[in-house]
């Protein structure tokens, strides 16, 4: 049986056309068939059947009852191990459940596994994982492609029909870019909309949970379930969460959509500029007013990000010391020896690189020149958006400068890899919500993505516009 969306599977369940156990069997079979894509770090049939028994007991009005969901292996889960794709957490079994996954469990979700990611979410291709690359399910046989990253496993799981929704985290584009590479919907809400509690921290002033799905309606359903205030995250905001899915409205009459000129950059493929143009025309046809705008500090977003994110990472990752949990080096001669060898053996190359950059930009004598400077430029970038949103409702841009690239490309040049996030990082720095939806294909048939950005806490606006644009390719 084919399951197209959460809403469709829910009606099949309501009409008793399928049982929760049958759903589990179907997805287990599919996951086994797609093993070579290396999408999951943790997959265990028994754990799924255990959940089936619990889910069957739940009342039928639970929004996600029986819905198969994948969880990025950065979320702590108490009945499945959590590795952050790092050797240093290889055998970590959390004793608690993250806020986001607990909310999904409460609504009856069936967790089918923990998905692969870049180690500690640091990467744009899911190729820095200790557990190996994930392969984009849209690859042709002779040319394996990257699924994007860091939430590449989650995006790939949705694209390969191994679940109907997945959690992700987005620090600089880690939901939106893989969504674009894998041809699925991915939304990063406003910073603070979903609690970070129980998510292994990367860069705390940027990290935000979000979701992947097959369509915009499903993204709305999932987002309204994982959002909400949580006392255990001091940056979690106490705002009313609208019923995004019930409020979905494709009408764009009178909406003003900004098109930033700075997002036309060298190196972006013509095909991507082409679908961007096409989406602009479509919005206009649907009644929106197009306004060409300027976000003058856009070009400084990436260098700003690559100071702030490593700085915060170097501090957050200090906790992995081989004492409290995780990997510890064998036979250290002293305490210092233990710390240094544990971290040397436990972290991969990209993580070490970022910890060292972060340590350097925070170190005495360099703090003002790098970290403080970056925080000031971040303010200017955020101000650009505030200004533009004073007379725009939305901003439309491409999601990434290219379609999915071959697995091993850009491995040896970190800056080239960082440029992947050129269109997604500014919104992360400004803390505003962004969604990527598939919109057209390139000559090779690979999906391309476009991104809609909105004001703080205005997820509904970007979901509505995405809902309208999605219909162009139905």
């Amino acid at each position: 049986m084919d399951f197209k969306s959460i809403s469709q599977l829910k009606s099949l369940l309501d009409e008793n056309k399928i049982s929760i156990k049958e759903i589990a069997e179907t997805y287990i079979k599919r996951i086994k068939e797609k093993k070579e894509l290396n999408i999951f770090i943790y997959f265990n049939e028994d754990k799924i059947y255990e959940q089936v028994k619990e889910i069957e007991k739940l009342p039928n009005d639970k929004t996600l009852k029986g819905i198969p969901i994948s969880v990025k292996d950065l979320f702590c889960t108490s009945n499945m191990p959590t590795t952050a794709a790092s050797k240093i957490l290889e055998n970590f079994k959390p004793t608690y459940e993250s806020f986001v996954t607990q909310k999904l469990i409460d609504q009856g979700s069936m967790f089918i596994g923990k998905t692969n990611l870049d180690e500690f979410a640091m990467g744009s291709a899911t190729n820095t994982s200790y557990f190996g690359n994930t392969i984009n399910p849209l690859s042709k046989n002779d040319n394996p492609l990257a699924p994007g990253g860091s939430s590449g496993g989650s995006a790939a799981a949705v694209a390969a029909d191994l679940c109907l929704g997945a959690t992700g985290t987005d620090t600089g584009g880690s939901i939106r870019q893989p969504a674009s590479f894998c041809g699925v919907v991915g939304i990063k809400p406003t910073y603070g909309l979903c609690s970070r509690w129980g998510i292994a921290a990367f860069a705390s002033s940027l990290d935000q949970a979000g979701v992947f799905s097959k369509n915009v309606t499903d993204a709305s359903i999932l987002l309204e379930e994982i959002a909400g205030h949580d006392q255990r995250d001091s940056t979690s905001s106490n705002v009313q969460i609208p019923s995004f899915s019930k409020n979905l409205n494709p009408s764009l009459e009178g909406k003003i959509v900004g098109i930033p000129k700075e997002y036309t950059v060298d190196g972006t493929s013509d095909e991507i500029n082409g679908v961007w143009e096409e989406a602009i025309k479509s919005l206009e046809k649907k009644g929106a007013k197009i306004k060409y705008i300027s976000l003058p500090h856009t070009k400084y977003a990436l260098p700003t990000y690559y100071i702030i994110a490593p700085a915060e990472a170097s501090s957050n990752l200090a906790r992995y010391d081989g004492v409290k949990y995780g990997y510890r080096a064998k036979n250290p001669k002293s305490l210092d020896d233990m710390y240094e060898i544990t971290r040397s053996e436990g972290f991969g190359k990209e993580v070490k690189r970022r910890i060292l950059i972060g340590t350097y930009v925070l170190s005495a004598g360099y703090y003002d020149a790098y970290y403080l400077k970056a925080q000031k430029v971040r303010k200017l970038i955020a101000n650009d958006f505030v200004q533009v949103f004073s007379d725009c409702d939305l901003i439309l841009t491409p999601t990434a400068p290219s379609a999915a690239f071959p697995l091993n490309e850009k491995q040896n040049d970190p800056i080239k890899m960082y440029l992947n996030d050129i269109f997604t990082v500014p919104a992360s720095l400004a803390g505003i919500p962004g969604i990527s939806i598939p919109y057209g294909h390139d000559k090779q048939g690979l999906p391309l993505g476009i991104q809609l950005l909105g004001k703080h806490y205005n997820e509904q606006e970007i979901l509505n516009a995405a809902f309208a644009l999605e219909k162009d390719y139905e």
Binding site: G192, T304, R343, P414
Partner: protein, 95 residues
């Protein structure tokens, strides 16, 4: 060239990450090119700009500061690679 091999090793010591000679050489190249690249921020005039540390536009709610017994020692120690009588165990520090 911003960094030399000694600086790399000093930073690595601060971050408690031991580097092999080869790793240090590799990182030197990468980090210098990354630091050169982020230099472009110096083009931006930030004289009267306040640094942005928290992006939240809503006022962050406060909670009462109450002590709670949220976890047992057993649970906290559960994932430790080495423990002894209810404590984390580490290599001997004092001779």
């Amino acid at each position: 060239m911003k960094l030399d091999i000694n600086t790399i090793n000093k930073i690595a010591k601060l971050a408690r990450i031991r580097l092999s000679e080869e790793e240090a050489k590799d990182l030197l190249k990468d980090m210098n090119s990354i630091l050169d690249w982020v230099e472009q921020l110096n083009e931006v005039n930030t004289d009267s700009v306040e640094p942005l540390a928290n992006i939240s536009s809503s006022i962050l709610p406060q909670r009462k500061d109450e002590a709670k017994d949220i976890n047992s020692a057993d649970e906290i120690l559960k994932n430790s690679p080495d423990k002894l009588e209810g404590y984390f165990a580490v290599p001997k520090v004092v001779e």
